[in-house]
């Protein structure tokens, strides 16, 4: 996809996410009004009043869930605004982990974003980096066992900004001592990796997948 196509996708997605947010706002207010009216009624006048209250609570809970999703979608849409810009790897890692949650859930695997204690700012192509991270998470998801966690962590490795994705109890510095070459499955993304001024390494073991994307 060229930049014009990406920008078009981003613009439309941002617009639609705004519309969906408005719909959710109306649903939330309507459920709230139902609640208000039920509370005005004396007890036992409205049949099944407690079930109506429960339904209203459910509606609002799902609206909050919808708002979360739409916010994530909107941020994803805006990641397509600029072809090359400043990005905080903490924010980007959190965003892609959120966007990929569903795919983790389908495999009963939790995706967790682990931020660096301070912002890790780099100049990059946010959309293509998101695509690369998504491919990396897919790589880990396929290899991790059901019930496990996959962590996406923004960190410094050898003084360079990096993102580690993997499964396993702890991330120790020795994990990055033996960096293997880019895994076979991700070789088609080498052009993107080069465009992003990064290197990608296999830092997994036989039983625990792990990838390191290190920026130059």
């Amino acid at each position: 996809m060229n930049q014009q196509e990406i920008a078009f996708m981003g613009r439309i997605t941002a617009g639609l996410s705004h519309e969906i947010n408005n719909v959710l706002a109306i649903i939330k207010e309507s459920a709230g009004l139902m609640d208000d009216i039920l509370r005005l009624c004396p007890e036992n006048v409205v049949p099944h009043q407690d079930r109506l209250f429960k339904a209203s609570v459910n509606i609002r809970k799902q609206v909050d869930r919808g708002v979360n999703i739409v916010t994530g979608l909107n941020r994803f849409a805006h990641s397509m605004d600029e072809p090359w810009t400043q990005v905080d790897l903490n924010e980007l890692t959190a965003r892609i982990t959120f966007l990929m949650q569903r795919f983790g859930r389908q495999r009963r695997i939790r995706l967790i974003a682990a931020p660096h204690p301070e912002p890790l700012i780099i100049q990059t192509d946010p959309f293509r980096l998101e695509m690369l991270l998504a491919a990396g998470l897919d790589f880990c998801l396929v290899r991790a066992g059901e019930g496990s966690d996959i962590v996406a962590q923004a960190r410094l490795v050898e003084g360079r900004p990096a993102i580690w994705m993997g499964s396993g109890p702890d991330v120790s510095p020795t994990l990055f001592a033996a960096k293997g070459p880019c895994p076979q499955d991700l070789l088609p993304l080498q052009a993107d990796v080069k465009h992003l001024n990064a290197d990608i390494f296999d830092v997994g073991t036989e039983s625990l997948p792990g990838l390191l994307i290190q920026f130059r």
Partner: protein, 124 residues
């Protein structure tokens, strides 16, 4: 905020603004409604509400422009902006232009009422 205080709600989403108005009326707040910027300015001229709750993204006369005109013609009116999650920059811009504060849609009504109370105190 006293019972019967007038608040003008401005949003192009008719169902949203009418339902919110109904909920505020239940709580003793006199809610006026406008569904576009031009109507909002007319109602503000006629009714002088101390508080305006104003959607940022509206077709035609947008929320920021309405805010600017309100502050020119009615400097004592306090404006609370409503923004979507992708429009927080507009909320911040609005505050630089004199808005009292901004809230994200969908709003929690308790949070909105609390903010309106603070804005009402600021308007006195």
């Amino acid at each position: 905020m006293e019972k019967g205080t007038k608040v003008l709600l401005v949003d192009d989403e008719v169902e949203f603004v009418r339902t919110l108005a109904e909920r505020l009326e239940i709580r003793g707040i006199q809610a006026l409604v406008a569904t576009d910027g031009a109507e909002a300015l007319q109602v503000a001229d006629e009714q002088s509400p101390p508080i305006v709750v104003l959607d940022v993204m509206m077709p035609g006369l947008g929320g920021i422009e309405v805010l600017q005109r309100l502050k020119e013609n009615h400097p004592d009116i306090q404006v609370i902006l409503l923004t979507g999650h992708g429009s927080t920059k507009e909320g911040i811009r609005g505050m630089h232009l004199g808005a009292f504060d901004y809230l994200m849609k969908p709003v929690h009504i308790e949070e909105l009422i609390k903010k309106m109370g603070e804005a009402y105190e600021a308007s006195r």
